[in-house]
């Protein structure tokens, strides 16, 4: 799966309160949330973002709250991928779980500017900057996480597992039972 899109560039510690401010958390569909995505740091984003665009950001992207509304808002806005130096861990899980592709690649972040066109090969973990011609390789996801991504997210993955083994839960060992 290869993505090509225009870059929206942000700095370090983009928190979930600016990705989707809490005042909009009384709704939860990606489409409704997307209308307010990033508005407190970039008023232009929600109106101008195009399907397939790519967010490129610094360290600790998605820090703060556990709100899944944050990756949902980004996904709902049409963004196809987020590339960052690093991700906050809850945001990282949430993105995989809801099917928003994310990649850690400090070198690509360093050399990418707002408005650049990037292509991203998710399976191979290869990012190409079409302006500079530079090619970046990211470390691939662990096999287990790749399985979740291939299944289309955590819910379809779990559903499949539950169907395959009806004894899924009973196989679990509880420490206090």
């Amino acid at each position: 799966m290869t993505i090509e899109g225009t870059v929206w560039k942000y700095g370090d510690n983009v928190d979930t309160d600016v990705i989707i401010p809490a005042r909009y958390l009384n709704v939860s569909t990606p489409e409704e949330l997307a209308r307010h995505c990033m508005e407190d740091i970039d008023a232009e984003f929600a109106g101008a973002v195009q399907p397939g665009d790519i967010i490129v950001a610094g360290e600790n992207f998605g820090c703060g709250s556990s709100r899944e509304h944050a990756p949902l808002a980004i996904k709902g806005s049409g963004v196809a991928c987020v590339v960052a130096r690093s991700f906050a861990r809850i945001f990282y899980r949430n993105s995989i779980n809801v099917g928003l592709p994310i990649l850690e690649c400090p070198e690509a972040v360093e050399e990418t500017e707002k408005g650049d066109r990037l292509t991203v090969d998710l399976e191979a973990g290869i990012i190409t900057n079409l302006r500079t011609g530079r090619i970046y390789r990211t470390s691939p996801f662990p096999a287990f996480i790749m399985e979740i991504i291939r299944a289309g997210g955590l819910v379809p993955y779990t559903r499949k597992r539950l169907e395959e083994q009806s004894g899924y839960r009973s196989a679990m060992v509880r420490p206090d039972e």
Partner: protein, 442 residues
């Protein structure tokens, strides 16, 4: 080689493992059985939507799936009312034993421990980033998103990567008016908001050994503000005394079966401390002797300064409460400062007890009277103002001093408002002074 607290607790919960014989190491991807699965009125509706896609009829255990209406409750508008209604319907249909609604609820991370729903050695997952609060009890507790929580509600287990651990050791003598909030703000100032990214933090040393449970909850609560996956304390006499006191208290505001406390009889709490030869990613030693009350300036919790270097910051609002500092001991500290004084005429001071039990105890101790006499507003428990939801939203250009946990841009309202994070002593002193102030300077 030995194990950290996080490794020990996770190992004991490895799904399909051999109980005490299981061993895990940082970096291992494991599936673990969870003891408690939590969500709230903001995160539960998405979790419920995803749960319904799983093709599972019932939650894995109605005694271990906990829901609390606390964020936009009491309902702030019609859309919020719909979200609470969605959660309420699900809780009733599933027969959840621990569903907490207005009048019986509290801010989730204040409420669950006092209800005896989290005990040492537990693995707790919650669709709220401050779920890490329960690490104060020697539990491995971590925030997740709604989809993870949906799967945990259905299966009773989750996948996780075993984290590395950073150990922070506190030595020395605390100055007057310095508490858990100041220690954790100082620590975040040292390591930064991504300093513990993907890692667990173990809080240790003679200072935290002497710290009350309230102070420990405050510190564990803000592990996430350093990027941490969990923040843990070893179990000691303070933990055991706290748990023993609950067995009485939980009867007073009983809502569920309270069966988790009974589990404790069968557990060996003494074992819940890290091994001496555990391997840490980093060990940080902090001498607390020079630490003043701390203030985190906008717009990151790492922008920390001692209160004496805050300068002349005029303020419009003070919030005392939240999952970070909404416990009885926090209110006692604030009331001690406010008693016999008046809130500055230019300041709105909002006090929010963290739970019905905290409210009742504060009422009986005369703390509520002290707040009202000082000119503060006292609210029913809610997360409201902390996340700019309701009950104290800021206008453009306004500044708030708050005992909450985040000061991101727009966190408490307008994107051009500002939040300064402090402990309950500085919050109360600032309310009186009308600017950021040290209580000794009043």
């Amino acid at each position: 080689m030995g194990h950290t607290l996080a490794e020990k607790i996770i190992a004991a919960h490895v799904a399909g493992g051999e109980g005490d014989d299981a061993e895990v190491w940082p970096g291992d991807l494991v599936e673990v059985a969870v003891d408690v699965v939590l969500s709230n009125d903001i995160t539960a509706p998405i979790a419920i939507r995803e749960f319904e896609k799983l093709g599972v009829e019932r939650v894995f255990d109605p005694d271990r799936v906990v829901m609390v209406a606390d964020h936009f409750a009491p309902n702030k508008d019609i859309k919020s009312a719909e979200q609470c209604a969605c959660m309420r319907r699900f809780a009733r249909a599933q027969g959840l034993l621990h569903y907490f609604d207005v009048g019986r609820m509290g801010i989730e991370h204040v409420l669950l421990p006092e209800q005896g729903l989290v005990v040492p050695g537990d693995v707790v997952v919650g669709a709220d980033s401050h779920t890490c609060t329960y690490g104060a009890l020697g539990a491995f507790a971590t925030g997740q998103g709604s989809t993870d929580i949906a799967v945990a509600m259905a299966t009773g287990c989750i996948w996780m990567r075993v984290p590395e651990t950073i150990r922070v050791v506190y030595h020395g003598q605390l100055q007057p008016w310095v508490g858990g909030k100041d220690l954790i703000l100082y620590t975040i100032g040292q390591i930064g908001v991504s300093g513990a990214l993907y890692k667990a933090i173990e809080f240790a040393g003679p200072v935290v050994d002497g710290l009350s449970m309230a102070g420990r909850f405050t510190m564990a609560n803000m592990a996430i503000e350093a990027g941490g996956k969990a923040g843990l304390f070893a179990v000691d006499e303070t933990t055991r005394a706290y748990l023993a006191s609950l067995q009485v208290a939980s009867l007073q505001v009983a809502s569920g079966r309270g069966g988790r406390l009974a589990d404790l009889q069968t557990r060996t709490l003494a074992d819940l401390s890290p091994d001496d030869d555990a391997a840490y990613a980093q060990v940080i030693e902090i001498d607390v002797g020079e630490i003043e009350p701390q203030v985190a300036f906008p717009h990151l919790p790492e922008n920390v300064r001692p209160v004496s270097q805050a300068g002349d910051v005029r303020i419009d609002q003070v919030v005392i409460g939240s999952c970070t500092n909404g416990r009885l001991e926090d209110l006692r500290v604030s009331a001690e400062v406010l008693r016999g004084r008046r809130v500055h005429p230019d300041v709105r001071c909002i006090v929010i007890p963290g739970s019905q039990q905290v409210y009742l105890d504060a009422l009986r101790e005369g703390l509520i009277e002290a707040f009202v006499e000082a000119g503060a507003a006292v609210s029913t428990p809610t997360c409201g103002p902390c996340l700019g939801g309701h009950m104290g939203v800021l206008a453009a250009g306004e500044r708030a001093v708050s005992t909450t946990n985040r000061n991101f841009r727009g966190r408490m309202g307008h994107p051009e408002s500002e939040v300064y994070l402090v402990g309950p002593a500085v919050a109360a002193a600032s309310a009186v002074a009308g600017r950021i102030a040290h209580p000794r300077d009043l």
